[in-house]
Amino acid sequence: MYVAVKGGERAIDNAHAWLAEERRGDCSVPELSVAQIREQMKLAVNRVMAEGSLYDPDLAALAIKQARGDLIEAVFLMRAYRTTLPRLAGSVAIETGSMAVVRRISATYKDLPGGQILGPTFDYTHRLLDFALAAEGDVPAAPTAPATPGPVPHVTGFLNREGLIEDTQRCDTTPPDLTREPMELPTVRPLRLQALTRGDEGFVLGLAYSTQRGYGRTHAFVGELRIGWVGVEVEIPELGFAVEIAEIELTECETVNQFKGSKTEPPQFTRGYGLVFGQSERKAISMSLVDRALRWRELGEDNSGAPAQDEEFVLMHCDNIQATGFLEHIKLPHYVDFQSELELVRRLRSEAIVLTEAAE
């Protein structure tokens, strides 16, 4: 008569087998290849790389396949794999000024050196379902033009020459590593940026949106948004110079924020910064807005109590792997604690009932 949760082991094995079958879906439909996901679900791959903190499109595509398209689950697979990798070397700081841009826009100037390059964007598409895509077929090739030679200078550099925007101090100290040291608060900007770039896109978007609606308003203009490829260089001690080991695709956003000055700073524009793996512009813009909102203390601004200004609130809750794990753990058995609560409620109720009866 006593049938408790016995046989957990067999249940788990069977559940895994069923999961594998569900992942494959209807076998009469051809199976997705990892390469197909990598090439045709590229923005999902980018998001998984960014939040998984691991630049590897093939592994990200594999994770998406294994996770049945659940991107947070895919990020989790990447993170768990990433932890096991050895740290071979630290790269030289990448130079986004020499990025081979595929997209580069500035909202603060009509035109500027390096030009406005729309690139492959959804921005001006009409969001009408394209039923032609339901039928398979080749896409006509897009028109091409020779790449503009020469570097594409940063917009904030123009403002900087006039002293109109805060100068950022170049700093060559190695930033703290979020994945190798416990987070201690209050923290520093490099660590905040690390946390934001791997933070959940939806969470960071929501916070950024809240600043636009007045919860810690920062009056942001997109000074520049650029997407493209940059080389990653590593110093090889035996050679005595840096060698390019890879090219990665990045999205960088620099916001120019209105600033009337404070007790400590003169009136000038201030900066918010976002840098994300892959083509992830919603995330990069969100990140730069939240970064700017979090800088209230160093700029001598007031803390209005807005969530986006609250470093502890933002950093402790932006990681979707931490969040989803803790949220979903309430599915685990809790019957021992529930039993102790049952007894407490029963006892409190019986005492309350005795008191009510005595009063009558």
């Binding site: 008569m1 416990p182 753990h329 058995p333 006892r347």
Partner: protein, 290 residues
């Protein structure tokens, strides 16, 4: 079966060393929450990643591991964690409390008294006992530094004013060696008296919150209370229906939809051991007939 692709007990030796340092610091300062660089484990945060990392750092090939969840060896997550270490460390496993050298637990302390040389590893969701009184880590760390625990006593007092009793039935706060207030993890308060003067080493791992804390053997651990409202461990006012134990923590199992229920030991090893020794409960006869 050991997975050759991973180091013994999954974590690399550098990471284990970092965790062992945190453990040693925790043992040196009982009840103090030591920050550590928690790793992303191949199981979700909130599912025992802190406990798993502590166990991984403690295990040696000669160990015999027991894993329980809610006191039971056969609950799904206990099975999953035990399998993980069988796969990555290849250590021997057991369900017998007395035979285990390392026991990883969630929400219970075994009924069978622990002995010297054993390590009990707790999975901890929220290590900060003051968290639900003050959500900010920056504040609660300061409160511990200053030994400022007034807020906790006010909370317990308000419980008494409102309910006539302290309305905390699990994760009941304790004071360690007269210094740190500590969260014993969500064990029922019935288990609190086993925390103090325990011959085993007790280690607490919170992965998501990146904290490790510890109780060395024979530490003084006092459940918070007031002179006129002394701490009372509590359990269901029944005996185990399978083994007749009067002093073990019981689960209530609903047996039909007409209010029928039975009470059984939550510690499955303890209950099975008693039944093997010939102890019988109210419903054992029915079992024997079947």
């Amino acid at each position: 079966m050991t997975d050759q692709a991973y180091n013994f007990a999954y974590l690399d030796e550098q990471t284990k060393r970092m965790i062992r340092r945190a453990i040693l610091k925790g043992i040196a300062v009982p009840g103090y929450q030591v920050p550590f660089a928690s790793r992303e484990m191949p199981m979700p945060y909130g599912w025992g990643t802190g406990g798993v990392q502590v166990t991984s750092a403690c295990l040696v090939p000669e160990d015999r591991l027991k894993v329980i969840d809610q006191g039971a060896d056969d609950t799904t997550n206990a099975v999953s964690i035990r399998k993980f270490f069988q796969r990555t460390a290849g250590v021997a496993v057991t369900e017998a409390t007395a035979e285990a050298t390392v026991i990883q637990t969630r929400h219970r302390i075994p009924e069978t008294p622990l002995h010297e040389g054993q390590i009990l590893v707790y999975q901890v969701p929220i290590p900060e006992p003051l968290r639900f009184l003050e959500p900010r880590e920056t504040e609660t760390r300061k409160m511990h530094e200053l030994e400022e625990y007034g807020l906790m006593h006010v909370k317990l007092y308000e419980d008494i004013a409102r309910h006539g009793t302290i309305a905390t039935s699990y994760a009941y706060p304790v004071k360690v060696e007269g210094r740190y207030v500590m969260d014993p993890s969500p064990i029922p308060k019935f288990d609190n008296p086993k925390l103090g003067q325990n011959p085993a080493i007790q280690l607490f791992g919170a992965g998501r919150e990146q904290r490790i804390y510890a109780l060395p053997p024979f530490t003084e651990v006092v459940s918070l209370d007031f002179d006129d409202h002394p701490f009372e461990p509590s359990k269901a006012p029944h005996d185990c229906d399978l083994c007749g134990a009067r002093d073990s923590y019981l689960d209530e199992v609903i047996t039909d939809d007409r209010g029928g229920r039975m009470f059984v030991c939550s510690d499955t090893d303890f209950c099975a051991g008693r039944q093997a020794d010939g102890h019988r409960g109210r419903l054992s006869a029915v079992e024997a007939v079947q």
